[in-house]
């Protein structure tokens, strides 16, 4: 009976493994992003191949996302179809630089807005940081960092480089205050929807 069961198990495993492989999400690293936004990825596992021309499912209708080389993501296949790889999500805390998200609305594209890393977003982040970190209220490096951020946030728009600098400064501010965002009681910081590397409260 055991042999029969083992044989049945093996048969089921053999029949379902290929589909199960395509149906799973595989951690991968961004090797490059083409001008059309499609990604080249190298999965961690050799169970699935390195892939090119992979679209990102941003999670916001009409949005396009630019991500840096080295970004970590989850690779999957729509409908477990070998023809349809896609990036499903981004792995928290692994974005080595700034990302850029563009959102277009309206079927004709006549109404469009671009969120790079906006002053509003940065201001909101800074204000939340100030609220969350007790050390921010005391003079010192952290306060200076926040002042720098606020000054940058007064600009009407930020390009990705500036945005990256602000995020880096923000990270520095956290470190200066010896505070790690996830350790703040009652507050869970996580990547924004579709905004790889952009941390919001």
């Amino acid at each position: 009976m055991s042999a029969l069961r083992d044989g049945l198990d093996a048969l089921i495993e053999r029949r379902t493994r290929p589909v199960a492989t395509y149906a799973a999400f595989w951690p991968a690293t961004v090797v490059a992003q083409a001008a059309d936004g499609l990604l080249e990825l190298q999965p961690d596992s050799d169970a699935v191949p390195g892939v090119t021309g992979v679209p990102i499912r941003v999670g916001i209708a009409g949005a396009k996302l630019e991500v840096p080389r080295g970004a970590r993501c989850l690779l999957g296949w729509e409908g477990a179809d070998p023809q349809r790889p896609y990036v499903a999500a981004w792995v928290d805390g692994t974005m080595p630089g700034a990302s850029r998200i563009a959102i277009a609305s309206g079927p004709a594209g006549n109404v469009a807005a671009e969120h790079v890393i906006t002053t509003e977003a940065v201001t909101n982040i800074v204000l939340q940081v100030v609220k969350l970190i007790p050390g921010m209220s005391t003079p010192g490096t952290a306060e200076t960092a926040v002042a720098t951020l606020l000054e940058a946030a007064s600009q009407t728009a930020l390009d990705p480089v500036t945005g990256s600098a602000i995020i880096a400064a923000l990270t520095h501010a956290f470190e200066a205050a010896s505070a790690k965002p996830p350790a703040v009681a009652g507050v869970q910081l996580q990547p924004g929807i579709g905004c790889a590397g952009l941390i919001v409260g």
Binding site: R14, P18, T21, Y22, A47, V48, P49, G50, T52, G53
Partner: protein, 215 residues
């Protein structure tokens, strides 16, 4: 008994041809010399008419005879392959590539593989699993043909070209037993109005029977 393997007479044989996949034959051969285990090294005939090209995957001698299992083609379909990625190719390319990697070959009469795929990911696994993935997209079926080639396509359900003698059949016509003269009934053909999904041949010293399962 006119059946043989590589010229050595068959004592008995059971061959099964599934609707999809490789045919398998369990044979007892009147020889004490091991059969050549090389890919496509086994030339099997049950009826003296059709030659089936396969590979001996297991064998043992007993009482001056050789018992062997022969699978259709080069015997490579269960070989594990590394993952591989293709861009902008007809589906035929990853299929041929997969078969070549395990010593198999695509039957020239294959169809349904001209579909263009912008991307194609072969995950790590056996060649059979890779073919199954291609089949899910292409549709139709695939099987190892008598000549050992791997055929992809849509079954045409052509009538079996010879008359058959129906010995027994189920009331629902789901299966039939035929008194075979030649091994001419294949999956994908039609016998006595019944579409054939699978066929088993049973060759014994005193008789030759075919069991046929309907679609």
């Amino acid at each position: 008994m006119i059946g043989s393997v590589n010229g050595s007479a068959l004592v008995m044989a059971d061959m099964h041809m599934p609707a999809r996949g490789a045919w398998v034959a369990d044979v007892v051969v009147d020889t004490d010399v091991p059969l050549l285990p090389a890919p496509r090294g086994a030339l099997l005939t049950l009826d003296g008419v059709t030659t089936w090209v396969g590979t001996v995957v297991d064998q043992a001698s007993f009482s001056g005879l050789m018992r062997a299992r022969i699978v259709g083609g080069a015997g490579g379909l269960q070989t594990a392959l590394l993952a591989k990625y293709y861009r902008s190719v007809p589906l035929r390319i990853p299929v041929i590539d997969t078969l070549a990697a395990v010593g198999e070959s695509l039957a020239p009469q294959s169809a349904k593989l001209d579909r263009f795929v912008e991307r194609w990911a072969r995950v790590a696994g056996t060649a059979t699993e890779a073919l199954a993935a291609a089949l899910r997209v292409a549709g139709g079926t695939w099987r190892v043909m008598p000549d050992g080639g791997i055929w992809f396509g849509e079954d045409a359900w052509l009538p079996t070209p010879v008359d058959v003698d129906v010995v027994d059949r189920s009331a629902e016509r789901r299966w039939m037993t035929l008194a075979a003269e030649v091994a001419s009934v294949l999956p994908g053909t039609t016998v006595d109005g019944v579409r054939v999904s699978e066929v088993s041949y049973h060759l014994r010293p005193s008789r030759f029977r075919a069991e046929v399962w309907a679609v």
